[in-house]
């Protein structure tokens, strides 16, 4: 049972390190996918927004970690 728990923990850990980063990335993807399906946002614009959004989330996550470590 311990082994199963360990593997599950490892599986989750593969995708989630900074919870905020993972959550924001999922929200970004959901919002863009919804905008493409529901308000006819051009898919290519959605893809470009995804790229920019991911970079913004990465900057914020790294900045927060660096600031926290230097306190």
């Amino acid at each position: 049972m311990n082994m199963v728990r360990l593997v599950v923990k490892e599986l989750v850990g593969m995708f989630v390190d900074d919870g905020n980063l993972a959550l924001l990335a999922l929200i970004l993807i959901a919002v863009i996918a919804a905008a493409v399906k529901l308000i006819a946002l051009p898919p290519l614009a959605g893809g470009c927004l995804l790229l920019v959004g991911c970079l913004a989330i990465l900057v914020e996550s790294a900045r927060r970690a660096a600031r926290g470590a230097r306190r």
Binding site: V7, M14, F15, A25, I32, G47, L51, L58, A62, A66
Partner: protein, 251 residues
């Protein structure tokens, strides 16, 4: 999508990512082999490889049942999460917020733990278990990487070859030097892999929502270049905004 660009990027991403994971597993198996004996080390590793093979054989065929756009979207999302996690960690290690991964240290830690268990009646079992866990946990990541970079465009074979090449290379180097591969530039590799996996993730999630990227497969290189430039800019900015005051916290 069977041009040279996606094949090369698939093989490279799979090879580099698997290389990092295999090096980490190798360190633990080596520690078990040197400290206890090679029998539990290799038994644990072989059992873990058998479990991984069973997982691939059971779940691999199921992927063929998933519609390609759904597969691209799901794999793309997972790759964004996975790739950005690696990229974030590599950036933070580059600026000294997190300590660099040290194979020598991991080896010493595992060796010390095994020595403490040396008089235990179950010492062989515990040693095999340590080897099994290391190979299984790092192997799960390799399996995910191979499936993720390969499955969305039917290139699992190329991705598998990349992973296999990494495995063989680490084994050959390991057999030759017979000590932890501490000189592998792990953070640089992780940085590049993080860039590649995030690029794949953005590319496929985009395709999953219907985007037709300009230049088709070549757009992958453009996305990679944009993320790479941005990431190096983040490193430079963090170094100047938050100068290092310590060695970084080991994680």
């Amino acid at each position: 999508m069977h041009g040279l660009t996606p094949i090369l990027s698939t093989v490279t991403a799979s090879f580099l990512a698997s290389f990092v994971e295999v090096v980490e597993a190798f360190t633990i198996v080596l520690a078990v082999g040197v400290t206890r004996s090679w029998r539990p080390a290799l038994t644990g590793a072989a059992l873990a490889l058998a479990v991984l093979a069973a997982l691939v054989l059971i779940f691999g065929p199921l992927l063929a049942l998933v519609p390609i756009t759904v597969l691209q979207f799901v794999v793309g999302v997972l790759l964004i999460l996975f790739g950005m996690r690696w990229l974030r960690k590599a950036i933070l290690r580059s600026v000294g917020v997190i300590a660099l991964h040290d194979e020598e240290q991991a080896f010493s830690k595992e060796t010390a733990a095994l020595q403490r268990q040396a008089n235990d009646r179950r010492a062989d079992y515990l040693a095999a278990l340590a080897s099994f866990k290391a190979v299984l946990l790092e192997g799960v990541e390799v399996v995910f990487i191979v499936i993720a970079v390969g499955a969305a465009h039917g290139q699992t074979l190329y991705a598998s070859l990349g992973a296999l090449a990494a495995f063989i290379l680490v084994m050959l180097i390991g057999l030759a030097v017979h000590k932890p591969l501490a000189r592998v530039p792990e953070n640089s590799l992780k940085f590049v892999v993080g860039l590649m996996l995030t690029s794949f993730g953005v590319f496929w999630t985009g395709e999953g929502i219907g985007a037709e990227w300009p230049g088709a497969d070549l757009a992958l290189l453009g996305i990679f270049a944009i993320i790479a430039v941005a990431s190096f800019a983040i490193v430079r900015w963090l170094r100047s905004a938050y100068p290092a005051t310590a060695e970084g916290v080991a994680r």
